[in-house]
């Protein structure tokens, strides 16, 4: 799948994360993360975002994430939502798993 527009999901509430997914040419996946738990969970958050995108067949994207202590499952859900909002056609991530 190729990201051609900006897709956003999530809220700024505690325990949530906002994900903005943007086109990134052919430069692979780049993640710009701000997090209240950067020092303790920054690596884990980046890993979840990356793996979720790869799982959805996305090779190139620029991701801006603003995290307020979201758990992995919430991060995954928000990434999937952001992607599903910009890719062409129907996107039903639950069918892929």
């Amino acid at each position: 799948m190729i990201i051609q527009q900006v897709g956003m999901a999530g809220t700024l509430e505690s325990s949530d994360i906002t994900i903005s997914i943007e086109p990134n040419g052919t430069k692979g996946i780049e993640i710009e993360l701000k997090s209240t738990v950067e020092n303790q969970f920054g690596n884990q958050i980046r890993k979840v975002i990356l793996e979720t995108l790869q799982g959805m067949g996305i090779e190139h994207a620029y991701v801006r994430a603003n995290d307020k202590g979201a758990l992995d499952c919430a991060i995954k859900a928000r990434v999937m939502t952001a992607v599903s909002r910009v890719v062409d056609g129907d996107c039903r991530p639950w069918e892929a798993e």
């Binding site: 999901a9 509430e13 325990s15 949530d16 992995d72 499952c73 919430a74 999937m80 798993e97």
Partner: protein, 293 residues
């Protein structure tokens, strides 16, 4: 022990923090909502969030229901597709008006279960009646599917449909509550009452809980964890009730052991319904962590 449903706690489906913490407050059931508490623009986000959350959390073994959007909206079908896969205890159908609504949901679940290789009948149903038509059809609704484990009344939509408003005494809900209760008892499923939205009015809430307990409801839908203790307190039997119930159960066990069909206590004959009531009282006592040994 029978499954208790004294409290069914609503949790907004697009709030990760509240979903994460929903199980800690001691509610008997959790009901995560994709319908009224989620805006039209966030239906997709909430659906995916609840899907991921259900697949991740164990909720401490508490019963989890998901209220989906009606099948006649653009969101209903995707809700079913995603949520059945995430395997909650049950899907709660909003705005049920006829037996066909239940059958349609039942068939869709069957289709999805087959598609993903899930055992038939894994996902249960819980129907909410929120209109005059639904209340009149309650008896048929309650027996429309083997998946159905309970039926509930949703009062806000119901009073609007009736062209009235909610009163503190709830006189406008009396008939509907009774119809739903009769339907539930006839079908042998649970009956759960509607929410009480003024969280700060603890007194008003308590008197409504007393009313629906007296009517016969298994419990109440609640919108705030602070309401749990009030419901539990009202549903907790008194010491005298517990004592008496214990003696009744003992007498019935004794009769059973003797192979006698007649149960007697203090020289009086005890009817079967009294034994059944005693058993429920002991269940409620145990749920309230009262030592009944």
């Amino acid at each position: 022990m029978q499954k208790l449903r004294r409290t069914m706690l609503y949790v907004p489906g697009n709030n990760p923090g509240m979903i994460r913490d929903a199980h800690i407050y001691g509610a008997d059931s959790i009901m995560i909502d994709l319908e009224d508490s989620v805006s039209l623009y966030e239906k997709d986000a909430a659906r995916l969030l609840v899907y991921q959350a259900l697949k991740t959390f164990d909720f401490g073994g508490i019963e989890v229901l998901v209220r989906v959007n009606p099948l006649n909206t653009p969101y209903g079908r995707d809700d079913f597709e995603a949520i059945v896969r995430a395997q909650p205890t049950a899907i709660r159908l909003p705005k049920t008006e006829t037996a066909d609504d239940v059958i349609e949901a039942d068939e869709l679940i069957t289709e999805i279960e087959q598609k993903i290789g899930m055992e038939h009948g894994t996902i249960k149903l819980f129907a909410a009646v929120e209109s005059g038509k639904g209340a009149l059809n309650a008896a048929q609704i309650a027996v429309a599917s083997k998946r159905l484990i309970g039926i509930a009344i949703g009062a806000e939509d119901f009073v609007t449909d009736l062209k009235t408003t909610r009163s503190p005494e709830g006189i406008e809900l009396l008939t509907a509550r009774s119809l739903i209760l009769f339907a539930a008892r006839a079908a042998g499923i649970a009956a759960v009452d509607t929410v009480y939205s003024d969280v700060n009015n603890e007194e008003g809430f308590a008197s409504e809980v007393k009313l629906i307990k007296q009517l016969g409801f298994d419990g109440k839908s609640i919108i705030n964890p602070r309401q749990i203790e009030i419901v539990n307190r009202i549903y907790t039997p008194t010491e005298a009730e517990i004592k008496k119930s214990k003696r009744i159960i003992e007498a019935s066990l004794e009769a059973e052991a003797k192979g006698s069909g007649v149960i007697s206590l203090d020289g009086k004959m005890i009817d079967r319904p009294i034994v059944e009531r005693a058993r429920r009282i002991l269940d409620l006592a145990e749920a309230a962590k009262i030592n009944v040994e």
